[in-house]
Symmetry: C2
């Protein structure tokens, strides 16, 4: 049975009409940032600005109050000062509004008076059956509903990764990074003060949300640890939960206490419980995204044995070290595979794993090497490095050649440029095809930082290419995916 | 007394004339990549292409052999097949060439035959007093001499960081990253097979090189461990050495053995010795650059007590945790400082360290907060987060506003845009000024990844702004700087 919380939230996160109370034309006000983001993000439903002093805002008719809006309203964003929020919510209740995102601050985070006010708005919402998000939240984004309603106007596309954050600025930053890295988002919620709905409720919602396959969580404190762990363990079994806990140390706990007004509890106990629940713990914000990219785009590895295919030796060494230090194994490979790959390489090549392709320019050999390793039952995953991102360096060489060698034929340089660019796209497509064929992950490392982002989707394919910026990020993501697989297997065996 | 190795190398790395033997117009050949990079990089000395089959290459007169060049030649790059290298070096010797960079592979890395050939070229170079770099190297760059001679046409500006790499592709990647991050380079040497000159020799050279203040080292194996450690310890006392050792684990050691043909030795023993010598060990390539940025641009911290000034609470929590986990302390701050900063903030602000500026838009308050912390004798360094990189988000907001609100005044939006952009530059300049005033480091974290790079120099100033992409990178760099300071202090006390 779907719980009440969950069924109601679906309408809140996929509204057909929204209102912004406190909507404004004044640049930089919350009521301006939220409204312009909703309009600019292309929300297809109705949008009602509410402001007693304006007739139109951003070309839309403005209303003096929620009660004056002629249509029904599913979701309301509230940016007016805290003391005005109860009255607005009362009007929302009378109007039959389903959800309210209270952006306004000045509640429990400010002291006793604010705490009373917060209790008051919870009571009003309960009375009317309004789902309350926040207060003191930086908003939500719901890309499948075309709804972007935060102060940050960075808009990642729809995708399988949900993100719940107890910190506003962490949310802003990670939304922006997600867009830059090409990570698709199913839902973002800044949970704010969690006066009514908390992280555990959102997890229960995401559990049954068909758009969500992976969940990122930034937590500073959990109200009801027992319920959280029970729900998280259950959800995590189907949808990996990647968790960054703020307040792991005394310094972090004090910092968290002073900015959210809540206590963090004993981290070691919490950490142990999370490990038992199989949650994937990280300790830095960037890791949340790295792991989301891997978990959402690649098949899970069935074990910890890694094949490495590298354009150059140094990277192979560094990556083998990192694998060892992270519980992964870089096993020897059979002579048969060595012989097959060796046909494409000079006689003095490394003849083992890592497969060092000694700077080859043969465009076929990296593909052959990756496939040979994937075929082999003694390898669970392949890390491939340097074949994507090389184009940027080729372009630099072409540019100099054009500048300094007037005899160089333009048509030829253009052909090289387009060949090299096309090769990278083909390589990504090939890796995706091989992942589907062998159901093993291929984790890429780009030779240079690319504008194209970490995740490189291929039209119509189940998996996407993932090309990290550094070998250490690739190894870290893979090793956490292995940990998750092993947990999953143990848990399945025990059920 | 300056050793012979060292005095000779100065002329090699600052040549007035160079030749490329194997120079070519064929796109993508080593002789083409090296020659075009030297020309395109703007080398001011004479450049002599050598190729028996061409009259001109890249508009320069080509010579059939070294012996036919009418002028003197300081430095020769050799890209012809290995078996032809001895004859070329003989000609170089007769010509009085001072140094040879042998790009060609096919020497000791390929087996016994290659090993003999390598010994032969060493003997020739010894006979003539030629400094031999390589063979099997990807080249050198010497930005102060305007000399860029590698296959990667990415050209970082001149600066205080030298980089010696035993791996070619690691070198390529890091040179490219250094340019992207704005890290200035004094010298890069790919040491290749180290047939004559090895890492220890280059360290001795860098010890007295006035352009070099920081040294990055990527090592896979060291021939003479005792001499290396002795020299490294001495050099490191004056110029911090940041070391990435490839082959830390068995998997890494086997990978290194197969690609360089040399054994790595026992890492734990080596690691212990490096720690005793005070070298700064890292375990990933990207860290080499992060630490170079910090060490080359900031004053060293005198202790481990950190003040944190953050635009938002979540980042403060995460950073405080990371500090604690890396041996740094985030101490409470006196009421007087709290009161001074509090004048600029709403009454419910965090009132402590981390100083959470709750999303302030007041452009003055972050500067005040940083200075108050720097002034305080209980703080050794400040981490400041979110005030640089915000401009990108402001731009996105301006863009939407322009799109959706036709009543928004263009002149006003333009003014906001330019104000916000200028503010970031002013903020960087102010941080640099404060570092000079208080001789304490200010480590920045950018809210978004910026095209402007990690290092932000300010005209005419001793220090530069450093703005990392993530809090964890900032904390890691700072904690290693503290470790170096403490080592330095202990060592000085014991001298």
């Amino acid at each position: 049975m779907v719980s009440d919380v969950v069924s109601g939230l679906d309408e809140v996160f996929h509204p057909t009409s929204v209102a912004v109370v406190g909507a404004s034309s004044t640049f930089g006000k919350w009521g301006q940032m939220i409204l312009t983001n909703i309009i600019g993000g292309g929300f297809k439903g109705k949008i009602f600005p509410v402001n007693p002093k304006s007739r139109t805002i951003c070309g839309l008719r403005a209303y003096r109050a929620i009660s004056e809006i002629p249509d029904s309203v599913d979701l309301v964003f509230i940016t007016v000062p805290a003391r005005m929020v109860p009255e607005v919510l009362n009007q929302c209740g009378a109007k039959g509004v389903k959800g309210a995102v209270v952006i306004s601050s000045g509640f429990s985070e400010t002291g006793d008076e604010g705490r009373l006010l917060e209790q008051e708005i919870v009571n009003i919402c309960r009375r009317y059956g309004i789902k309350l998000i926040g207060p003191n939240t930086m908003g939500i984004i719901s890309p499948y509903a075309g709804l972007f309603a935060t102060g940050v106007h960075s808009r990642p596309g729809p995708g399988p990764v949900a993100f719940i954050s107890q910190s506003g600025n962490m949310g802003n930053q990670l939304i922006h990074w997600a867009r830059q890295q090409g990570i698709g988002i199913s839902l973002f919620v800044g949970s704010g003060n969690e006066a009514m709905l908390g992280c555990t409720d959102y997890l229960e919602y995401l559990e049954q949300d068909p758009n969500t396959r992976i969940i990122m969580l930034y937590l500073e404190n959990v109200r009801d640890g027992r319920r959280f762990l029970e729900v998280a363990a259950r959800v995590n079994y189907e949808k990996p939960i990647i968790l960054l806990k703020g307040g792991r140390t005394q310094a972090g706990i004090s910092a968290a206490a002073s900015h959210t007004g809540a206590m963090g509890g004993e981290f070691r106990i919490f950490q142990g419980a999370c490990r038992q629940a199989g949650l994937i713990s990280v300790d830095a914000p960037a890791e949340l995204l790295d792991l989301s990219a891997g978990f959402s785009s690649l098949p899970l590895p069935k074990g910890n044995r890694v094949g490495i295919v590298t354009l150059g030796g140094g990277w192979g060494v560094v990556t083998a070290d990192k694998c060892n230090e992270n519980g992964l194994v870089v096993p020897p490979i059979p002579d048969k595979i060595v012989d097959t790959i060796g046909k494409y390489l000079p006689p003095f090549w490394s003849k083992g794993n890592p497969v060092d392709l000694v700077g080859t320019r043969d465009l076929e050999v990296p593909v052959v090497a990756v496939e040979e390793l994937l075929k082999y039952e003694g390898i669970d995953a392949v890390i491939t490095m340097g074949f994507v991102g090389r184009h940027e360096l080729v372009s630099l060489l072409i540019q100099t050649t054009r500048e300094v060698d007037k005899t160089a034929a333009d048509w030829f340089l253009e052909q090289v440029e387009s060949l090299s660019s096309r090769y990278e796209d083909d390589y990504v497509a090939k890796m995706v095809e091989l992942m589907e064929k062998y159901e093993k992950p291929v984790i890429g490392v780009s030779l240079t930082r690319s504008e194209k982002g970490t995740v490189r989707p291929v039209d119509g394919e189940k998996y996407s290419g993932v090309f990290y910026e550094t070998p250490e990020n690739a190894v870290n993501a893979l090793s956490k995916m292995v940990t998750y697989t092993l947990y999953h297997r143990r848990r399945r065996a025990s059920l």
